[in-house]
């Protein structure tokens, strides 16, 4: 059977197809069908010939097989230095082999490639900093994911995720109505405590257009309320778009480049439509990476920049604290030892390490760095889609060990983690290894610590 009903080379483009995939619990039938999926060798080789240019080709060719990248990879360390986890090996045995065989690979081989691309690499890009040639296996594996996606060899959740973006322009099934209603609901819900609190939708010419991760409206709408409270406190002129509010990209994790483009264009359209001065995105690492760092390239913007200047939440917050738009009550600063999880996507891959330290300097009395830290930090263990793939849950749990040990070494029990993936990974590592740590986004911490200006407090009713 060449093409399965659920597992095939065609991406999801309709609600019905999405529904069919979703109702196949844990992708049982999907993975069964994958065992019989044909490899379109001509297409595979054709794609490689068109897209494997200077950079990737040279990396593949000149890799000196020196192994200096080994210890840079957290999955190599977490798996007791299994040589099969050496970054170079993971690429040479997949992409290298496909190129050597000029695309003539079979179903079994593609299963190995898929497993490697999604369970042995989170595309954290750390190895690229340790290779004398600067060979970035994270970029290579991401490229491999694209090849896999084109052949239908993609984990079930990733196929669903990219389908969601294609159908809903969000990683989850949230319609424009759902989103707008959630905004209204949250504003109402918190208005009593915060008189005048608003979540303005589609306001023109605001200073800030705020965008989120779909998990927030879907699973933690309070996060949206917290963002509103902090903007309110800081006196910002802000808005959210009714369409183009989602910054994440499971399509990026899936290697579905076409969906990546569709997704970021929806956000760029909102930027232009509402004519805001700048964009701020919630505490999510890959959302920022996808929409701000990589997105302009998918959308074909030669400047490499988003249509309006775009900032991660930590940048906005650092500025608000620096300029005194939000003031911290010194008595309420975090007293206990606290550490910070540097997200690969906005620290290593976007240079925001100093910004994170600046925030910690305003809010923590005993800030402890993990070792290594900043751009050299290890992946949380759940990046690149790893958290979300049931098939590789065990491998993911093993991968969490490195982060667990890093956190424990700091002696801190509280981990500030302004990234959804890191946040999840740390939550799961506590669940699996029970080491007694807590974790938090910044928003709830800041709300607890901020000095609320008198005029923003609810007025006591005159009795």
């Amino acid at each position: 059977m060449p093409e399965g009903k659920l597992c095939n080379k065609t991406p999801i483009n309709t609600k019905e197809e999405l529904q069919a995939l979703l109702s196949d619990k844990s992708g049982k039938q999907y993975y069964e069908e994958m065992k019989h999926l044909d490899v379109d060798q001509e297409k595979l080789w054709g794609t490689i010939q068109k897209t494997l240019k200077s950079r990737l080709k040279t990396w593949l060719e000149i890799c000196a097989h020196c192994g200096l990248c080994s210890d840079s990879c957290f999955l190599y360390l977490a798996n007791n230095k299994d040589p099969k986890q050496v970054p170079s090996y993971k690429v040479q045995s997949t992409l290298g082999e496909i190129v050597r065989r000029k695309g003539k690979v079979d179903n079994d081989f593609m299963h190995y490639v898929m497993e490697t691309a999604w369970s042995k690499c989170t595309c954290c890009n750390r190895c690229g900093m340790y290779c004398p040639f600067g060979i970035d296996m994270g970029i290579m594996i991401s490229y491999v994911r694209g090849l896999c996606f084109g052949q239908g060899f993609v984990p079930w959740e990733m196929k669903i995720g990219s389908g969601m973006h294609r159908v809903y322009r969000a990683q989850m099934d949230i319609t424009t109505e759902d989103w707008v209603e959630t905004c209204e609901w949250m504003a109402e819900e918190y208005e009593e405590d915060w008189p005048g609190l608003e979540i303005p939708v589609d306001k023109q010419n605001a200073d800030i257009i705020y965008t989120v991760n779909a998990r927030e409206p879907k699973h933690y709408p309070e996060d949206l309320a917290e963002a509103a409270i902090l903007f309110h406190m800081a006196g910002e002129n802000w808005t959210v778009p009714s369409m183009g509010w989602e910054e994440t990209s499971l399509a990026m994790f899936a290697g579905d480049w076409e969906a990546c483009k569709l997704q970021v264009e929806s956000v760029y359209d909102a930027m232009k439509r509402l004519n805001a001065k700048k964009m701020v995105v919630t505490e999510c690492g890959h959302a920022y990476r996808a929409t701000v760092v990589e997105g302009p390239y998918w959308a074909g913007l030669e400047s490499g920049q988003t249509p309006i200047p775009s900032f991660h939440y930590v940048e906005w917050l650092a500025e608000a604290l620096r300029t005194g738009k939000i003031k911290i009550d010194p008595a309420k600063k975090i007293k206990e030892p606290v550490t910070y999880q540097d997200s690969c996507n906005y620290i290593r891959n976007a240079g925001l390490g100093d910004v994170a330290r600046e925030i910690m300097s305003y809010i923590a009395e005993d800030f402890r760095e993990m070792e290594p830290n900043r751009e050299h930090n290890f992946c949380c263990g759940g990046g690149g889609g790893f958290n979300g793939i049931g098939l590789y849950r065990e491998q993911r749990n093993t991968g969490l060990k490195v982060k667990r040990d890093q956190i424990l070494k700091t002696g801190a029990k509280l981990v500030v983690s302004p990234c959804h993936n890191c946040w999840d990974a740390i939550r799961d590592l506590e669940e699996v290894y029970k080491v007694g740590i807590r974790w938090s986004f910044l928003k709830p911490l800041i709300i607890e610590m901020a000095i609320v200006p008198e005029h923003l407090k609810p007025q006591e009713e005159e009795a």
Binding site: S54, G67, G304, E375
Partner: protein, 225 residues
């Protein structure tokens, strides 16, 4: 024979080497694609240049990067090997005598004992690189016969030159073999992985531009290599 290997064959080898490395570099640069690589090379030349220079510089300094500091043993081997490999033949007295005789000019030279030490150092470092490939599982799994061949190509001119210089056995034989080995290496550079002679700089510059432009550079943040 001597006339042939130091005459037409030498011309050929040097010609292939020089043209070859230029072609490799030009092809590399022409193959860069801002959209595929997702790096806006053209839009941000000064950030790109800064990133590229930093990326090359720190890696040329022994212990200049975290990776070099993490593997001190390998770093020492690596720098001795590469330094000896490039420095020795260029400043060797005998090579420069030949140069003066044929082309009427020469470079400053190092004394013969220094050359001897460098030559031995290259060979010993090479030997350790081979042992490392056998001993360490993470390197063994990557290693192919091709990797050994490349080390052999790189060490051969040193071993044969050493034997010839010290008149071990048949001088003429070792001299000719030495010259041939050197020419094989020159010709191999553009066609094999030894092309990293030039592609090292290209690749480092590229990843430097990537960080210098896209991944933090425009935020004014230099990557701590």
């Amino acid at each position: 024979m001597y006339e042939f290997v130091t005459g037409p064959l030498a011309w050929l080898a040097f010609g292939i080497f020089f043209i070859g490395v230029i072609v490799r570099a030009v092809n590399y640069i022409r193959g860069l694609d801002w959209k595929l690589d997702r790096v806006a090379y053209g839009a941000n030349p000064s950030h790109g240049a800064r990133g590229a220079i930093r990326s090359i510089f720190f890696w040329l300094v022994p212990f200049g990067t975290r990776s070099w500091r993490f593997y001190p043993g390998m770093t020492v081997l690596f720098f001795i090997f590469h330094f000896g490999l490039i420095f020795t033949p260029i400043f060797l007295r005998a090579h420069n005598m030949l140069l003066a005789e044929r082309w009427g000019f020469s470079l400053p030279t190092i004394s013969d004992p220094v050359a001897d030490i460098l030559t031995i150092a290259v060979m010993v470092a090479g030997l350790f690189l081979i042992l490392r490939r056998i001993a360490l599982p993470e390197v063994r799994i990557l290693t192919t016969a091709y990797d050994y061949l490349l080390i052999a190509i790189a060490i051969a001119p040193f071993l044969t030159g050493f034997l010839a210089f010290h008149h071990v056995g048949d001088y003429r034989f070792w001299l000719i073999t030495h010259i041939l080995a050197g020419e094989i290496m020159l010709i191999a550079i553009p066609f094999t992985k030894l092309s990293h002679f030039v592609l090292f700089f290209c690749s480092r510059a590229q990843i430097g531009m990537d960080y210098g432009i896209k991944r933090g550079g425009l935020k004014g943040k230099d990557l701590a290599w």
